[in-house]
């Protein structure tokens, strides 16, 4: 009995273990774990035929394609620009750098509904940006492109914020060493600087992808929400809930949650990998 107690919990002279862990577990269970478990229980209770008809319907499949495809694209675009922005902010001193640096987090602070109505207005045919794009035949608002714009906005800071600390901690003497050994700048960037940034970039990409997959508020205003064209999965879930099709909504939500869990696992693995490069 004593042996198991020892391996489960190493004694400490500090008080409050039972109280704090008990409170943490109770609160976490009540707010998050039990509600999510109920969702999975409900999903398990849905009959096989209903699950199949739900998942194989053309509308659901289209929503899956739109949601995953555009979220992936948005995360990819942010991975490229996030790297460039992190690089510029860490390596090139230019006036206004502090201001730019603090603005990066705007998508985390701005409510998604505000982002949604603003982007829809900007990119509509008579909006500031939409006006410029109309002559070249590019329609953004109320098309799948609009979804892309909204998802780029909400997932913009992730890659930049995960890459930045790693880039800041890179030992410049390694670059000097490579240069003294005769490498040119391009070789140094490709073989010395980018490899240690890879885990952080992948972490940021996965975080951005996970965030973009579940996004709802900013997308619904700009998407147009045409079934099978510009309808995202979270919206389809909301529609099913509003029609009191709880079983249908549950099946879709359970699928999305399963994907979230896989991504969460990937993020954990990637973060462990990133930390090794941060030297923390």
């Amino acid at each position: 009995m004593l042996a198991t107690a020892k391996t489960l919990y190493r004694p400490s002279i500090l008080p409050g273990f039972g109280l704090t862990l008990g409170f943490t577990l109770t609160y976490l269970s009540l707010i998050v774990l039990i509600p999510l478990a109920v969702l999975f229980l409900n999903a398990a209770g849905v009959g096989g035929a209903k699950v199949w008809s739900e998942l194989a319907s053309a509308r659901t499949l289209a929503a899956f394609r739109v949601t995953f495809g555009i979220a992936f694209l948005a995360a990819l675009i942010n991975a490229v620009f996030g790297l460039v922005i992190a690089w510029v902010l860490v390596r090139y001193p230019f006036p206004g750098r502090r201001l730019v640096d603090s603005l990066i987090d705007l998508p985390f602070a701005l409510p998604t509904a505000v982002a949604g109505i603003t982007l829809a207005t900007l990119y509509a045919g008579n909006g500031w940006i939409g006006q410029g794009l109309a002559p070249i035949g590019l329609k953004v608002a109320f098309t799948p492109l609009g979804i892309l714009v909204a998802l780029i906005f909400v997932s913009l800071p992730f890659v930049m914020r995960t890459v930045e600390p790693v880039l800041r901690n890179l030992d410049r003497e390694v670059e000097e060493g490579a240069a003294l050994l005769g490498a040119n700048r391009w070789q140094i960037i490709l073989h010395v600087i980018l490899p240690p940034l890879l885990p952080a970039t992948l972490t940021g990409f996965t975080l951005a992808f996970a965030r973009a997959l579940g996004e709802y508020g900013s997308v619904i205003f700009i998407a147009g929400n045409v079934p099978r064209v510009s309808e995202i999965l979270p919206l389809l879930i909301v529609i099913k809930l509003e029609q009191f099709d709880y079983a249908g909504a549950t099946v879709l939500a359970a699928m999305m949650l399963a994907v979230s869990f896989v991504l969460l696992l990937a993020i954990n693995v990637l973060q462990t990998w990133t930390r090794r490069w941060q030297g923390g």
């Binding site: 190493r10 940006i129 996970a210 909504a249 949650l257 969460l264």
Partner: protein
């Protein structure tokens, strides 16, 4: 930048440690252009659209009864959810950083869970529990208790969404600070609460404030989760973001942007305070990419 080996040693060689000037200018331009299009234009547009109908219409839009009740409800939700989340964050951080026990990394992963769950699902789980067709639906309606399409549901959904915000900021710092100061306090005769109040909290106050700030911003701005459980009852269950949506869908664009501008102002203040806190704590709070 100038402090390279070659320059320190005053070697007469040129090491390729920086990109050519043209490349640097192009990269800065690309980065700035991307940020102007995706961040600065939207922020400016909110305020321009808000004042499109004039200052009178602006203040009328944010002081009409439904807007005021939305502001009141939003503040109430923040007032309830932020202290609870802060208490959870401190308790979780104390248990995780002051003790060694099995399953700790699983617990940390579970605390992060709400980050990767779609807000819509965060709201939906409470509909499945407390909605009319939910598990407790019949019992609740028999006893005349309303949770879904009422304020308690909105608070529950918000609590789900913001759960990790304070814990996320406090845990890395307390991990770094270790347990020696607390152990010294206990050995000198302090009890747990005294140790927490006089030793731990002063050490983590900036990270704690930072977490509270982020938590507050999200609690006020949350849309998806709240939208599912609210029912959009004007004057009763509309928070500010929901009020923005209702006005926008009614084609009351100027009024919608007026309320949105109040939320945007709050977001800007959050960003400014965040920078002040980073400056006060003397380091970048890097784990906070949420």
């Amino acid at each position: 930048m100038a402090d390279t080996v070659a320059e320190r040693a005053e070697l007469p060689i040129h090491l390729p440690l920086e990109e050519p000037r043209a490349v640097r200018v192009v990269l800065i331009a690309v980065a700035l252009l991307f940020l102007v299009i995706f961040l600065i234009l939207p922020l400016v547009a909110v305020f321009v659209e808000a004042f499109r109908g004039g200052i009178g219409a602006y203040f009328a839009a944010i002081t009409e009864p439904e807007a005021l009740s939305a502001i009141y409800l939003t503040l109430l939700i923040a007032l309830i959810s932020v202290p609870l989340t802060a208490a959870f964050g401190i308790a979780a951080a104390w248990s995780v950083t002051k003790f060694e026990f099995k399953g700790k990394s699983l617990l940390l992963t579970l605390i992060d869970l709400p980050f990767s769950v779609s807000p819509v699902i965060a709201g939906m789980v409470f509909v499945l529990l407390f909605g009319l067709q939910g598990i407790f639906g019949t019992w609740l309606s028999a006893h005349g208790i309303k949770i879904i399409f009422a304020v308690p549901g909105i608070i529950l959904a918000t609590l789900f969404i913001v759960l990790p915000f304070v814990a996320r900021e406090v845990i890395p710092l307390m991990q770094q600070q270790g347990t020696t100061q607390e152990e010294a306090a206990v050995l000198l005769g302090a009890n747990g609460w005294q140790t927490l109040w006089h030793v731990t909290l002063p050490n983590i106050k900036w990270a704690l404030l930072y977490g509270v700030l982020l938590c507050n911003g999200r609690a006020i701005g949350e849309f998806g989760a709240v939208s599912v459980v609210s029912g959009h009852i004007a004057g009763l269950t509309n928070t500010m973001p929901l009020h923005v949506e209702v006005l926008y869908n009614d084609y009351a664009f100027a009024a919608s942007f007026a309320v949105a501008s109040v939320l945007s102002l709050m977001a800007v203040v959050t960003l400014v305070l965040k920078n002040v806190l980073e400056w006060r704590s003397g380091e970048r709070t890097s784990g906070s990419s949420y």
